[in-house]
């Protein structure tokens, strides 16, 4: 049984609630980490809403590794959390889409690499909070596609990620500095 109670869910006067994503995100393959922090499980003894819904301790990366920057065109990306499974066996399933403009050899290589890799994505919402998609046990599977668009649309990569489990807020933010 859960050790904490649900809270009142009410309108919060004076709290802005911008929709959509910001333009800078982070992505890391599973092999980049030495320690991946976890949120508390709902039924853990000392669990609170904060420790279940967020991770406050920074993950530790392998020496020389860190998140890679992932730019996303504004108003093109989206992140979602769904529920899957039958009644009494429900689970979370998170997904995101980011659109990266361009076409170049490095990105083609990244596409091949990401399509064959698993990892964790750190998606920045419009208010600056970062959502973590993927965990050590249930990492994100990436799918990267590319399209030229037509002469009045969009040329670039569509990066999607999908993972089982709920996304959580990762309060340490994005880390673009290789670990010492």
């Amino acid at each position: 049984m859960a050790k904490f109670d649900i809270v009142d869910m009410i309108h919060q006067d004076g709290v802005t609630n911008p929709s959509g994503l910001a333009t800078m995100h982070g992505i890391a393959l599973l092999g980049y980490f030495t320690t991946i922090q976890k949120p508390d499980a709902v039924d853990e003894d000392d669990a609170t809403g904060t420790t279940v819904g967020s991770i406050a301790t920074a993950h530790v990366f392998e020496a020389g590794a860190c998140m890679k920057k992932l730019y996303g065109t504004e108003n093109k990306g989206e992140a979602k959390d769904d529920v899957v499974g039958d009644k009494d066996s429900q689970n979370g399933k998170g997904s995101f889409t980011i659109m990266l403009p361009g076409s170049k050899a490095d990105y083609i290589a990244d596409r091949k690499l990401l399509n064959a890799s698993i990892g964790i994505a750190f998606i920045t919402m419009a208010d600056g909070q970062v959502l973590q998609y993927g965990s050590e046990d249930f990492p994100c599977h990436f799918k990267v596609t590319w399209g030229s668009g037509n002469n009045e649309s969009y040329r670039g990569y569509t990066i999607t990620g999908e993972c089982y489990g709920d996304s959580v807020i990762y309060t340490p933010g994005l880390n673009f500095t290789p670990a010492a």
């Binding site: 406050a56 600056g128 909070q129 309060t171 933010g173 994005l174 673009f176 500095t177 670990a179 010492a180």
Partner: protein, 71 residues
Amino acid sequence: MAKLKEEVARKYEVLAGHGVGEYRFAGQTVHLDKLTLEQADKLVKKGFPYLVKKAPAKPAQEPPQKEDKKA
């Protein structure tokens, strides 16, 4: 290798295993090597986890006094 500014380094050290470089926290880009102490204090107050307050320096120990040999 990038380093914290001296005024920042007197008060803070970088979280173990992490480097001095670029981070993005609460929608703001942070270059640790360019932070002033005031900016560092503000970030830490907001919960930035990559700067850790240094433990206060221990007072220097006086060398043990030699006992006078009794005649």
